[in-house]
């Protein structure tokens, strides 16, 4: 069972960057009509999403966030021992995007760099990996997490288009003998088809047929190279796995539910988050939401929410947090700890 507590990895700061350009209700109404757009908004809770230029990658957003964070923390880039890049929207099939980022950030040749191919659960997995690496002797780690899922969503897919936005984040971790983080992680492998881009990698190489938009079983128009999401299966999965996950992380950490300051969830969609909060009897003021402005930013959504919603508190005092990410894979992870005060620069909006 992947329920562990790790001493020694302190979170020092979080930075985020999003594209300046936004899409909102007007774009959705043009594609789907006013009536449907109102229903979509009621379900997703997403008013605006930040969607960048076609050539603007998650790595660009993460790099900007990391550069700001290194400056604010006064960290010499050469002092970073490892760089992790959590994403499912890499620059290339190969090389690893973390290697490209290593060069752009001017890190040392003695720095390890690798990618982690997870989405919704990715940030928690990234924290767990970083904390584990810290325990093995590393002193400073940069964890970048970000995605540009809108670039993989078909324009007329009403299940996905209104939901996803783009963001890149950077988290700095440093060896700290007083720091303690708790984790609970898991996987439902048979659920892999429920959130997928079926073609374009190596199971099915891209060709003229995979690029052809077709009407799918759910009525949406998409190609095999576009994201396909079975909302009903994902919702059932969430109800089935997230409440027990919360119980496990509270047991692992020893935190009482009422003592936790905030429960920071992956920003899947508002209906799901509201239902989870109600199901788990969590007061709404303890469940911050950033998806109204940013949408579902996949691996970036938890750190982005920390910055957007909790910047004032987290930059001033220690805060008892539970973070939980769940979704694509199907994969889930929760982390708990007393975090802060943190270096939290303002969110950057990139042209």
């Amino acid at each position: 069972m992947a329920d562990v507590s790790i001493v020694g990895a302190g979170i020092r700061g979080v930075a985020s960057a999003v594209p300046q350009r936004t899409e909102g209700l007007a774009e959705l109404a043009a594609a789907f009509g006013d009536a449907d757009t109102r229903k979509l908004l009621a379900n997703t809770g997403v008013q605006t999403r930040h969607v960048g230029r076609p050539d603007q990658c998650a790595s660009d957003l993460g790099c900007a966030a990391a550069q700001t964070l290194l400056q604010e923390l006064h960290w010499d880039p050469a002092s970073v021992d490892a760089l992790l890049f959590v994403s499912q929207t890499f620059d290339y099939l190969l090389p690893a995007t973390s290697c490209c980022l290593h060069g752009r950030l001017g890190l040392s040749k003695n720095c390890a760099a690798f990618d982690v191919g997870l989405g919704c659960s990715g940030y928690v997995y990234g924290l767990w990996i970083a904390a584990s690496l810290m325990k093995s002797g590393l002193k400073r780690i940069l964890l970048l997490a970000g995605d540009t899922i809108p670039k993989a969503v078909a324009a007329l897919d009403r299940s996905a288009k209104p939901l996803f936005g783009e963001a890149g984040t950077a988290t700095a971790l440093e060896a700290d003998p007083e720091a303690l983080l708790h984790f609970s992680l898991g996987t439902d492998g048979p659920g892999w088809p429920h959130l997928i881009i079926p073609a374009g990698a190596f199971r099915k190489r891209p060709d003229a047929e995979t690029r052809m938009p077709m009407q799918a079983q759910d009525g949406n128009i998409r190609s095999a190279e576009d994201l396909s999401m079975n909302g009903a299966e994902i919702f059932t999965f969430t109800i089935r796995e997230v409440p027990p996950l919360l119980n496990r992380i509270l047991a692992q950490s020893g935190f009482k539910r009422e003592e936790v300051d905030y429960f920071v969830f992956h920003q899947a969609n508002k209906f799901m988050l509201d239902y989870l909060a109600k199901r788990m009897a969590l007061p709404s003021q303890k469940v911050p939401l950033s998806l109204g402005e940013f949408g579902n930013t996949s691996s970036a959504s938890i750190p982005l929410t920390l910055q957007h919603c909790l910047r004032s508190e987290l930059s001033q005092k220690p805060t008892k947090l539970v973070m939980a990410g769940f979704g694509v894979g199907l994969s889930w992870g929760a982390a708990a700890g007393v975090v802060g005060p943190l270096c939290l620069p303002e969110i950057q909006y990139l042209a």
């Binding site: 379900n43 759910d218 079975n230 009903a232 919702f235 109800i239 109600k278």
Partner: protein, 79 residues
């Protein structure tokens, strides 16, 4: 909690924002206004919270009528 068929029909009508007269056991789901992908998610939530049952999406997809939905809850809906 929902424990009767009539309460189930009333809750389903409310969920779909329809007049109760529009939702009967013989109603075809594909003909019900507002029975769309979002309604399916709302229905899964309703089943979880009011019928204590986690409905699989694969079971829901096989349902053609409201009566088929009722058959998903043999122990919970009596009378």
């Amino acid at each position: 909690m929902i424990t009767t068929r009539s309460a189930f029909l009333a809750s389903l009508a409310e969920m779909l924002e329809l007049d109760p007269s529009q939702v009967t056991e013989t109603s075809l789901l594909k003909d019900l206004p507002n029975w769309d992908s979002m309604a399916i998610v709302s229905f899964i939530a309703l089943a979880d919270s009011e019928l204590n049952t986690l409905v699989r999406a694969s079971e829901l997809v096989k349902c053609q009528t409201v009566a088929d939905l009722i058959k998903l809850f043999p122990a919970q809906l009596v009378g």
